[in-house]
């Protein structure tokens, strides 16, 4: 009988099913909320219903007396110990920011801010008691509209004296990376083409699948915090920094985490509060938010006004771009709130060769939930702006929008290319990705159909949208982060542990929350060390197991963490070689390693890795001075970003009678360098594309004129499901990155960055002959219809800030809530 070896020749490149999915899909894993500890207490939050108000009194006596309640905390109780939540990215030396309390002390600055905390024996007892807390508020005027707030019409934080947190500029002439943009604009105004537009990046909610949950156990020597976070290492550092607990006394565990999209890249009030409650009661404490609380108070994303000026010559050669952003911070600065728009600063020039560029950004406070990282963080905003502008330029010149891009983009033979922002794009081939995408899309055929529909005045018009995007990812070279005043570095860590029985444990500092690290990391090590895929266990997300790391965001895990892993694996081989040489009675220089075996060059004489591991483990007969272990670790700090790119093409059908938009086909060809696992890549692309389409068509966090979040549940925050999407056609071209040995570029955000402008471009393309050159996002049927009705005017109505009640309390046969069991009129339920 012959054994059949069905293993792929190389693991890298094979579409392995994800090893973590068994436990994730069957519900066998433990999420944070599943954790039960002896004596555990449960928390419920009382949150402000007002956007901006003074707290004049809080009566907690009824709550304290309620059954099962062990502790009630208000801001007054903890004001001297709760510290201020951290902002790790002061973008300017004079950045303004208010103190950021976890529990509001005497003033609330957004609806949803925590004003009191109940700690009780059960989650129900805590929730019941929360209804009994009576808070008196004096309402203050609220700063809500971003533009008005930028004018300091109403102050979000009166003590700051202004709503402007910071102004940040990049100017290519000042930086010496290009010429002066105002000259380019002046020239274009006089005989060239000048495109001036204002685009809105609406406010979005990350809406991860697993609501946030936190547990703190104070009973051991180390305080143990379980958190559904993307960043356990940050949570550890900031628990120490915020609460003054020695870092060595804190252990943070991120167990399996159900998605984040940047929304769990945070150190949260709830983490502080659970820790304070645990220390005060001496008992393990847990808080799990409801979906409503999650939508209301977990950080939001995007929310910018973009004023853009593009200068070009008559033939459509771009000569300069000027960007003026207003960015809505919301009420506070979270971990990287202030830096998110800056992450886009270097991407407005995208794949194009602009001689002059200027980026200006004003960060503005309002009395709304604070914003922070959301998938793409800064780069979707930039990509949207430039890809929309390239379409506008094409319309102005009167050529196909693809032609205008080809005219301006960096040619394949021009790589490596230093952009007008001074970034060195190491590799790329825009021509190849575009050619393949056009072929898969039947670009010319669809253009013909579009013309036919235009000619026949078809009720349903066809639009074609292009997005030839790039992004900078693999965050990030620590030196660059330092020059941008970011408080941390961008390196990543890995460790390879060779177990005596031949199995391997891999430790990564990049804590995954659904990306599939366990599978991809196993594939890398399998090839590197010649170990079977199934013999490799990938560990992460526990600061006791993986003490060094900077976690998962910014499409960094593979390009930075993967490279650390490659280096650690190579160190294992280097450590093994002298032992193998000793065992083989050969010189180290004659030993070569391949496919899991150390061989004496030119002979069949060899030792398998497992034999060398065992020899190292027993230590019985090692060469003089050799460490009895092959375990190795490495920390990698990249010298450059990586620059994935791709061509995304979207065809939409626009019903001109109702304004409804239907996606007809979607093709993308992405160049993300070498691919470790095509199945994981496909998954990341599909999810990302839908998330980007959702910004274009569906999602918006809407506040009413009182500062109440109207889209506060999934009834009104219209998250798409699979029923709303189509099958995407995805493919890849490969230009390996030169910044890491894997040649990988990162794919976590690509789809989300690329798809939004492709969709909006296609809608505008469908109705452009009617005199329309913009439709504000989300492009709801109503907005599209109104644009058609008032063709030519780009004035967009803001979304009406009210929602229809479907679960109204006034329904028949429904007594109104018993006043004795609920909070008073000013009292703050949920």
């Amino acid at each position: 009988m012959t054994a059949v070896d069905d293993r792929p020749k190389t693991e890298i490149g094979s579409a392995r099913k994800r090893k973590e999915d068994q436990r994730l899909i069957t519900g066998r894993t433990k999420w944070t909320d599943n954790i039960q500890l002896p004596g555990m207490q449960h928390l419920a939050m009382v949150r402000s219903p007002f956007a901006h108000a003074k707290i004049t009194a809080i009566d907690t006596s009824a709550a304290k007396a309620a059954p099962g309640v062990s502790l009630v905390l208000t801001g007054e109780d903890v004001k001297d110990i709760q510290g201020s939540l951290p902002n790790a990215w002061p973008i300017t030396a004079d950045q303004k920011a208010p103190p950021h309390p976890s529990i509001a002390v005497d003033r609330v600055a957004f609806a949803g801010e925590i004003v009191a905390v109940i700690v009780a024996r059960s989650a129900r007892a805590a929730r019941d008691a929360a209804e009994l807390v009576d808070v008196d508020y004096d309402e203050l005027p609220a700063a809500l509209d971003l533009k008005e707030s930028a004018e300091d019409a109403v102050l979000a934080h009166p003590d700051l004296g202004t709503n402007k947190s910071a102004f940040w500029q990049f100017d290519s002439a000042d930086a010496g990376t290009g010429t002066a943009v105002d000259d380019a604009i002046a020239t274009a105004r006089d005989g060239g083409i000048l495109i001036e537009r204002e685009y809105r990046q609406q406010r979005l909610i990350p809406a991860f699948m697993e609501p946030r949950s936190f547990v703190c156990d104070p009973t051991g020597e180390q305080l143990t915090i379980w958190s559904s976070t993307q960043v356990p290492h940050f949570v550890r550092i900031f628990t120490a920094a915020t609460l003054g607990i020695p870092e060595s006394k804190v252990r943070v565990i991120a167990p399996d985490v159900g998605g984040g999209f940047g929304g769990k890249l945070q150190y949260t009030p709830e983490e502080v509060i659970v820790t304070l409650a645990a220390r005060k009661t001496g008992k393990p404490c847990k808080y799990t938010e409801t979906r409503s609380e999650s939508l209301l108070s977990a950080h939001h994303g995007r929310d910018q006004w973009q004023r853009l000026t593009l200068a070009a010559t008559k033939d459509g050669t771009v000569t300069g771009l000027k960007v003026d952003l207003l960015a809505d911070m919301g009420a506070y600065l979270g971990l990287v709130t202030s830096g998110v728009p800056i992450l886009g600063a270097f991407m407005f020039n995208a794949i194009y060769k602009f001689p002059a560029y200027q980026f200006n950004c004003t960060n503005v406070f309002t009395n709304k939930t604070w914003t922070d990282a959301y998938r793409g963080a800064g780069r979707p905003e930039a990509t949207f702006a430039i890809e929309r502008l390239m379409d506008e330029l094409a319309a102005e010149v009167g050529v196909d929008p693809m032609e205008i891009r080809e005219k301006n983009w960096i040619k394949h033979e021009e790589f490596p290319f230093t952009s007008v922002c001074g970034l060195e794009y190491d590799s790329g081939n825009y021509e190849a990705a575009t050619a393949r995408a056009k072929e898969l899309f039947d670009y010319d055929g669809l253009r013909r159909e579009q013309q036919q529909r235009r000619d026949s005045k078809d009720r349903v018009q066809l639009g074609i949208g292009i997005s030839t995007f790039t992004e900078m990812c693999g965050l990030a070279p620590s030196r660059v982060l330092g020059s941008l005043s970011y408080a941390a570095g961008g390196w990543e860590h890995a460790e390879v542990r060779m177990l005596p029985t031949g199995k391997v444990e891999v430790v990564t500092g990049s804590s995954a929350h659904g990306q599939g690290h366990e599978t991809a990391w196993s594939q890398i090590v399998a090839d590197r060390l010649g170990i079977p895929f199934d013999d490799i266990e990938v560990l992460h997300g526990d600061t006791q197991v993986a003490p060094r790391g900077l976690d998962t965001y910014g499409s960094r895990s593979l390009v930075v963490g993967g490279q650390a892993l490659v280096m650690a694996a190579d160190r294992v081989i280097e450590k093994a070689k002298p032992i193998a040489a000793h065992m083989l009675e050969a010189s180290v220089d004659d030993i070569e390693f391949s496919a899991g075996t150390f061989k004496v060059k030119g002979t069949d004489n060899g030792k398998a890795m497992a034999e060398v591991v065992w020899a190292a483990f027993t230590g019985h007969d090692l060469p003089e001075g050799t460490e009895p272990t092959l375990d190795a670790e490495a920390t990698f700090d990249p010298s450059n970003f990586s620059f994935p790119h791709g061509t995304h093409l979207c065809a939409t059908e626009v019903d001109t009678e109702t304004g409804a938009v239907k996606i007809r086909s979607y093709v993308c060809v992405d160049d993300i360098g070498n691919i470790i696992n095509p199945l994981i890549v496909e998954g990341q692309m599909h999810g990302g594309i839908v998330q980007g389409i959702a910004q274009a068509l569906w999602e918006e966090a809407v506040y009413d004129d009182q500062g109440t979040l109207v889209s506060g549940s999934f009834v009104d925050y219209t998250l798409p499901t699979s029923a709303d999407t189509i099958s995407f056609v995805t493919d890849n071209t490969v230009s390996p990155s030169t910044s890491n040995d894997l040649g990988a570029k990162g794919v976590g955000e690509a789809g989300c960055i690329a798809s939004t402008p492709a969709v909006v471009n296609s809608i505008v393309d469908a109705v452009r002959p009617l005199g329309i050159n913009d439709i504000q996002m989300p492009c709801t049927p109503e907005r599209v219809w109104r644009a058609i009705q008032s063709a030519g005017s780009t004035q967009a109505d803001p979304t009406t800030g009210s929602a229809q009640p479907h679960f109204d309390e006034g329904a028949p046969n429904q007594a109104p809530p018993d006043p004795s069991s609920s909070a008073s009129a000013e009292g703050a339920g949920q």
């Binding site: 989650a123 918006e700 109503e782 329904a811 046969n813």
Partner: protein, 284 residues
């Protein structure tokens, strides 16, 4: 999302349910499939002391053929109605509408009676029930009374079902051989109707002989577009002929303005969707 504490009763007959209701008075809530009630409780918009679950009352379930009428018990689930050939054959527009309600999980729990009593103007079964001239059988301590569809829907979340009463069944006059269509307009698939139109039409030799049209979410109750119904009679089932008649679909309506659309847009949608629904019902 934890409701306040309540007592739970699950009577097995209508008589027991009525006496439990009478005894508890204001403090009780009746539960059908719970798909509206449970969210209300979990969001603590209401905190009744007692929940009377109708789920164990067999006599409230099922679909019967009663000559000129199809009778549907109040506790019959959406899923059961969807599976019923009787309904499909004689009241097709109800089947059409229910395929558009929420998702399969909710359709396996939610009941037609619960949905009608809940009377959300954006709910999908009110308009077809109205269009089909449904009769509502309401049972109270004094016995049954039958209410015409036009009198059943009183206002937003308010029907003719009084305190201490139950909706026990609905009786739909058979519309055998009528074409039907429910045009539901939403932004994402799982949404409540922004606007929807229920149309059922009888065509004789290419001409519309009779038409019934109900509008969803065009006011505080489902509405009947009677002017359009009359204007359609005798018209050819063609785009041009129907378009003119349907232009009046939004006359006299008072739709809401909210983040899914302002009132004027909804009125416009109503005319477009009515035309599309009628044409599909008549031809397709």
């Amino acid at each position: 999302m934890i409701p306040a504490q309540f007592d739970y009763l699950a009577p097995t007959s209508v008589a027991d349910a009525l006496s439990a209701l009478a005894e508890a008075g204001d403090d009780a809530k009746v539960m059908g499939g719970g798909q509206s009630l449970l969210p209300i409780l979990r969001m603590r918009l209401n905190a009744p002391e007692k929940i009377i679950d109708l789920g164990r009352i067999e006599e409230l379930r099922g679909i019967r053929d009663e000559g000129d009428h199809v009778v549907i018990g109040a506790m019959t689930t959406y899923a059961d109605v969807l599976a019923s050939d009787l309904v499909r054959q004689h009241a097709g527009v109800l089947t059409d509408a229910i395929t558009e309600v929420a998702d399969p999980q909710i359709r396996h729990r939610g009941t037609v009676g619960g949905a009608l009593v809940h009377a959300d103007p954006a709910g999908d079964v009110g308009a077809p029930a109205l269009a089909l001239d449904t009769e509502f059988v309401i049972t109270g301590p004094g016995g049954d009374r039958t209410v015409a569809a036009a009198d059943f829907f009183v206002d937003l979340f308010e029907t003719a079902v009084g305190e201490g009463e139950l909706l026990t069944s609905i009786r739909i006059p058979k519309h055998t051989g009528w074409g039907s269509r429910y045009e539901k307009f939403v932004r994402v698939a799982h949404q409540w109707s922004i606007v929807a139109v229920a149309a059922t039409v009888r065509v004789e030799g290419g001409t519309i002989a009779e038409a019934r049209i109900g509008l969803t979410n065009m006011g505080s109750t489902p509405l009947r577009a009677t002017a359009v119904e009359q204007a359609l009679v005798g018209r050819a089932a063609t785009d041009d002929a129907v378009r003119e008649a349907c232009a009046a679909a939004a006359d006299g309506t008072n739709p809401p303005s909210d983040l899914n659309g302002d009132a004027d847009y909804r009125k416009h949608l109503a005319t477009v969707l009515t035309r599309r629904a009628v044409l599909a019902a008549a031809g397709g």
